[in-house]
Symmetry: C2
Amino acid sequence: MKNRLYFDISKNNIEAKKKLFENIKIEQDSIGYYNLPNQDISSILEYASSFDGNIEYIVVLGIGGSSLGAKAIYEFLKPINCTKRKLIFFESTDPISIAHTLSQIDISKSHFLVISKSGTTIETIAVFKYIYSLQNNHEYFTFVTDKDSPLEKFADEIKAKVFNIPANVGGRFSVLSAAGLLPLALTGIDIQAILDGAKEIEMSFFNDGYIKEILLNKAFFYAKNHTAYHISCIFAYSETLRYFCEWFVQLWGESLGKKQLNSAFNVGLTPVGLIGPKDQHSFLQLLMEGTRDKTATFIKIADFKDELTIPNISLPYLESLDIINKIEFHKLINMQCDATFEALKAQDSIPLDEITIKAVDGHSIGELIYYYELLTSLVGQLINVDTYNQPSVELGKIILKNKLQKLKGQQ
Amino acid sequence: MKNRLYFDISKNNIEAKKKLFENIKIEQDSIGYYNLPNQDISSILEYASSFDGNIEYIVVLGIGGSSLGAKAIYEFLKPINCTKRKLIFFESTDPISIAHTLSQIDISKSHFLVISKSGTTIETIAVFKYIYSLQNNHEYFTFVTDKDSPLEKFADEIKAKVFNIPANVGGRFSVLSAAGLLPLALTGIDIQAILDGAKEIEMSFFNDGYIKEILLNKAFFYAKNHTAYHISCIFAYSETLRYFCEWFVQLWGESLGKKQLNSAFNVGLTPVGLIGPKDQHSFLQLLMEGTRDKTATFIKIADFKDELTIPNISLPYLESLDIINKIEFHKLINMQCDATFEALKAQDSIPLDEITIKAVDGHSIGELIYYYELLTSLVGQLINVDTYNQPSVELGKIILKNKLQKLKGQQ
């Protein structure tokens, strides 16, 4: 991948960048995601290669960090037809959505992956209970959870297969652990290619490669201006990146939206995921003329490996649009990306950068994922928050449990 | 629908609210969307009832205001199985997405709706040229566009049927015109129910009903605090409202993200669409602990008309979750909504309100749509922007045309 920054980085302090880099290297000992590109995936690959040939649907029961990562990669790669099984997600307690998802699968040809780091995620267990009432053969279930979690103990009890998420890998940083790789491998996706992409960014960052300066400079700019430019937009020019945007929203929002460690001030950068050219007809006006509180990162795909072309047809009264004739769609969408970028660049005070990935393939999405994980860690360090926890989602869970207990008491 | 506000409206000036209401009444003469609930839809209904019985796919070629509205309503109603034909959208120039959408339809059983207000939308015409090269029988096409647009003239030339969008109805306010109603009616959806819902809000607002005070108070709060609380979140507790959120993003962002009329200052409210409970595991942490720049409107569905229930299964080691046994999923999701709402209410300085719609039906989505259109108009008046244009999306189009012309010159 390439990444060009179009904002002023000349005032970034060299010593401070050095210190930031040292701090991240220290984090490597305690934060597990950094090292995931180098993990041994043989147990996942073996499991996938020995998998039941009759299974057509890999069905994930998971929510948040237990679904967004695998979904981002699967939906990115799906159009290039590299999967032999469908990947389906139950990620809501919405009964309409549950019924709709059920209608998309054949239970007798489905294998269910119950993914929950803590092992007690209420949405996931609720749906699991329902599925388990329809199919209670343990061979149709695999569990992905923390070591010694209640869910692992349950899985052991019913003699089902378990994969663990390393204890020091948080949910939203877990896509390159079994939580993301197992579902992808079971659909037939080449997970080594994804890790190789991540590895390339890891090596480049930690071994003084080209991405190190870029990431440090970008993180410094974002952090230094986090009160002014506190909305971080991704503008990705391909529908295939829609769920990557959703993954980014969790990673960025949940990691950086925190009370500061020193002051307890509420800080955070608000993530927004946009898809071009569609959102040129939606969000672009706000980006162009609205309050100057947004940065935007354009992501484009260099080679769509696609030859779909606009036919050479001239339509009466629409001759002014003959200029698009004989142009490949992939060329058109990238020109739209460039034109929108240039239009924004012509405005005052909109910090922009541009990422170009090579193609719709595992390597490229692996790069993007690791790049954004690193950027999140860097900005988190600089704005002085605990990037890896999420203390404030607990309160709602406690209130819910109280409500449920009260309801039980009334029954 | 019900709407409760949980922020301080006591300081709203009565005279100023009166003036605002008067200004909106004046707008009614020039801005067309206000009166759409009262339009005569007999020509649409006739066309739909006489429609070719072999057609199984209604395929919209449109982008932005020409697709988001119909998609929001269709995807909301789809799970209740009230449609007799599938509604499919081409809304990108992404070749991967075009190929994927093509694979979902049978062209010989598809009727294409080419929707473009101006009639010269580059994405729409590009895809149309491609489809037209595969199917050039005019009977398989219907056009929705402004009167006398180049696209209408083309449609007349090939003797295809045309419906018009009223000239004074802007794209993002056009869902209740033929742009939205025609595709919905052709799938078999009861469009009168949608208009009836919109009408109920219209009557309530303009005839001193319950929604008038609520909308005026909410608009005043949003406008008065538009520099402090400039991110407007919708947190909808049902997957069915996912595309309603996308429609809202365009409506809100493109209408309010403007240079102010008096000062040319850049202003705007940034829309964010969230879906519960999923985004409890994504965006909620940021909402709870992040910068105090966000309002949140919770939307819940009172009656899911669904009895899907969590089975009474106790799982070894997971007994603590027996509290969800025998609870209907629709009850659980609404309790999750309430619990999250209460958790946010317990924080400082997060302005909240709650909308409850009755059910997943046409009436309810009609209400929601008209409610948000009115709110947009009201806030636009108060922050002093031209709510109904979108001047800044033009620059990118001009740059693109220059690039295309240059490319032509090189060929």
